[in-house]
Subunit: 149 residues, 2 copies
DNA sequence: CTCCTAATTAAGAATCATTCTGATTTAGGG
DNA sequence: CCCTAAATCAGAATGATTCTTAATTAGGAG
């Protein structure tokens, strides 16, 4: 599943500006890794991104993909997600959103919802620490897995 | 941080019944691994449980702890949690609850809240699949980390 | 346009969590 | 009291991720 072209471009522009801002070089590798991630809605892992990017940059190394993803994550341009025990999945969507997770195959999809995003939980958690953000994780069975069984 | 004694016993009794029910043996190792998990509120990983259990069962192996945790997870007596890239953390709390996660040190604490648990998200997700459950993840900085900085 | 330097590459090794092997011993519970 | 599942031990295998070192490439400031 692909993200719409104009949204991809919006993300890429934000990315370019942030890389310049941080004083880093805008290399082909960084651009292609980011563009690949910004174009896909299914949160690939490092290997998946590597396989896709290799079509356009045949000499890219898996190591560079890992290094680039870590760099972008440190800059806050992408987020890491996924459950412990699996490989790390990446997400170029930095807008406030929530996740649908298939408990069977691990598929993750973003969704936005104003009401959910407006949720305030601070009051109940004074004992644990300061609250920064609240995210909803909806678990279920995705359509593909439903059709298979 | 410890769970109250009567809650631990409640969990242990549920555990004993379920192990019998499944036709598995109630070994010391299984009991001690489960009791350790049921007593701690901070969701230890396999190594942490191993270290604690070793005090009471000096000959237990890390392998047995891993195997036991997987068995209990398959039975639905415990849950696995944690972010990709870290080790798997375990949770003996099978009641409906939510998580507070410290983005700095990774601490996870459970909390219950009727209003949050009553949240219904089905309508918004028809396109992705069937919804089974909704869990809230609150991210922030825990008290310990706040005091250190 | 040129040059400095950061980034990439290659090939390999290291680390860490986790699972598996296979042979041997232990102990739960009918 | 025995049968058999489970545990143990030691070690090895796996897979994701990170690091090493040395040589090459290329971004972008001047």
């Amino acid at each position: 599943m692909k993200i719409e072209a104009h949204e991809v471009e919006r993300r890429v522009e934000t990315f370019k500006a942030a890389v310049q801002e941080a004083g880093l070089k805008l290399t082909h590798q960084r651009l292609e890794v980011f563009r690949e991630l910004a174009s896909s809605a299914d949160h690939p892992d490092a290997h998946g991104i590597y396989d896709s990017v290799k079509h356009r940059l045949p000499t890219v190394s898996l190591d560079t993909v890992y290094r680039t993803l870590r760099t972008l994550s440190d800059l806050g341009l992408i987020n890491m997600l996924g459950t412990a025990g699996e490989s790390i999945r990446f997400d170029a969507n930095t807008r406030k959103h929530h996740h649908f997770v298939c408990v069977n195959c691990g598929l993750v999809r973003d969704f936005e919802n104003e009401e959910l995003s407006a949720l305030q939980v601070q009051e109940d958690l004074v004992g644990f620490g300061r609250v920064l953000e609240t995210q909803i994780e909806v678990r279920g069975i995705c359509n593909d897995c439903r059709n298979k069984s």
